[in-house]
Symmetry: C2
Subunit: 390 residues, 2 copies
Amino acid sequence: MPKLNLDMSRGKPCAEQLALSDAMLAVPAEMLMKTPAGVDARNYAVLDGIDEMKTFLGELMDIPAKNISVGGNSSLNLMFDAIARYMVFGTGNGETPWGQQGKLKWICPVPGYDRHFGITELFGFEMVCVPMTAAGPDMDMVEQLVKDPSVKGMWNIPKYQNPTGITYSDETVRRIANLKPAASDFRVFWDNAYFAHDIYETQDSLLNIFTECEKAGNPDLPLIFSSLSKVTFPGAAISCLASSDNNLAHIRKILSMQTIGSDKVNQLRHLRFFDFSTENFYAHMKKMGEVIRPKFDAVLEILDRRLKGVASWTVPNGGYFVSIDLPNGTAKSVVAKCKEQGVIFTPAGATFPYGDDPNDSNIRIAPTVPPTGELVQAMEVFCDCVLECK
Amino acid sequence: MPKLNLDMSRGKPCAEQLALSDAMLAVPAEMLMKTPAGVDARNYAVLDGIDEMKTFLGELMDIPAKNISVGGNSSLNLMFDAIARYMVFGTGNGETPWGQQGKLKWICPVPGYDRHFGITELFGFEMVCVPMTAAGPDMDMVEQLVKDPSVKGMWNIPKYQNPTGITYSDETVRRIANLKPAASDFRVFWDNAYFAHDIYETQDSLLNIFTECEKAGNPDLPLIFSSLSKVTFPGAAISCLASSDNNLAHIRKILSMQTIGSDKVNQLRHLRFFDFSTENFYAHMKKMGEVIRPKFDAVLEILDRRLKGVASWTVPNGGYFVSIDLPNGTAKSVVAKCKEQGVIFTPAGATFPYGDDPNDSNIRIAPTVPPTGELVQAMEVFCDCVLECK
């Protein structure tokens, strides 16, 4: 058998998913010049998104349009910038900038997203792991941790979490909204990347953190991030940050020095593609889910058939990943063995801060890219290696 | 006479200039999907620009493609980020981050660009003014100032400077390249925004700071910024940062945590529009200049006719501005009087750090936006006000 050459390491849309948005590149030029409100999208002006995009995203996220700030093509960049801003300027309520407060800590639900952990590692936070349960992060631990004033933030992917696919329960969201952190400049980073990324008929629903925090008298607690990267084109979509009036006033003051404005033509291109209709948006997302559903089915079928009793895994209703826990001490060997056979998985440990999975057990499977035939091959190789290493 | 409603405050392209790039919005979808090298522009991957865009910009700027990093739609954002990065992480050669070195200073040629000064003010630098001469900033002063180790940077718009339209002489560029700053983490911020923005037959030429710094054994000195904002669409173009291998290695290490990559579809859109040809690019820029030349002609004719002996002004060969020095102590009153009559100019003082023109004399004229007829009206009002206030 020739050596395989399959990459299952990143959560990327596949060719068929990308093709679903190709019509967006064919929106006629004359529809990209002026916004419905009459703003020339081609020229300077408008700091953080045209009104129509704020309304559209606001409707999707059930957050007032005025509380939404539209960025460029990368929500990761918005998260990085949010932390950089607080490092240098503080959160805007008179507290000392994070960068001048000495050693600080950050809460990291695990397993989680390697790029989140990469950012907080770079900025020098001590990352404190909190295990994910079926209802979200262990909230008893989180409530304890925020009593420490050096704890300044917490990563969250609240819906179809990367990598577990778990959606936070209503109780988890309410407990987060009602946190009483010792640090007044503690912020919940809420990366709602998969807010509309259902795969199956059964869909998870997530409580609205914006509203819950308002109810709890904690309106400034969350910074809510999202994007259309896995809606249209990962390389060329739209990101956004939603937060309280107070947080956004501080952010916009600094942002107005940082840039003259985000790309309005691309915002308009997205809106024209969906014809300004959230209904069209959801119809599009349904097709997205249909493309990758057979891939998730295949992965789950193989795991069920070959690894029952050997490993455990999550069965997500949406998102981009399946998270597998192998027998302790075997994940690294399995990934290495797969690589020898030409099948690339996300490096073992990547789902933990500092790349260090203390149990050497968790592996993230990203089934979206390979065609189903190759995916099946890759998963059979994976199962062979797991059974060899157990 | 009805009250006028004219805005000459910002250096924005006019409608006819924007129209010159409208065909870029009509590049067929199938030409936007794959780069010539075979990268899917729609998907994730490629940190800081597709190879073809680096080659294209490199050719325009006469800098090796490998020394170019392509950003989003805002070069101002690249400058802000560059400073934020050095504040938090330092310049990468083992020096303490700027944010931990106490009070720092920044060299600001005046008159200059308000948004540059806004950034260094926000980051808390003490801005030290150096007057612009006909050959660029007063280099005797600059050479003295960099002996102070708390001086960390210097703003420059070396070609068709905003607002004077002056281009640095070869000697000025060489003296900058040969600076021996006391601080090893001193950086020259080189905002080459108007590198190809000629208006008249007589064109200024600027010595290549990248090459000159290499020759001087100072390769890490400059961070060179530019953009296509005033080439295609200010709201939806391409920015870039060029620097030494050493500087870019440090920047890319951090950038790889900040974003998954810049918008490749928009890079490809630009390249297709120019058909990858710098010749087409220059033909396009020639048309740009032809559109605004009559506007500059009109402004200069009126000034010549009405303010000779009263005020002095620059006569630029390119760029977006004319800089006028009025009798001391009158600039604020003139701008206020113009506003009463419905003509908006850039606020007096804006061309100086902290908005403070010690002579209350300099005014920046941005002639590009109004149609020539209105421009003439506005300039007549301006001259009336100057003559009233002198």
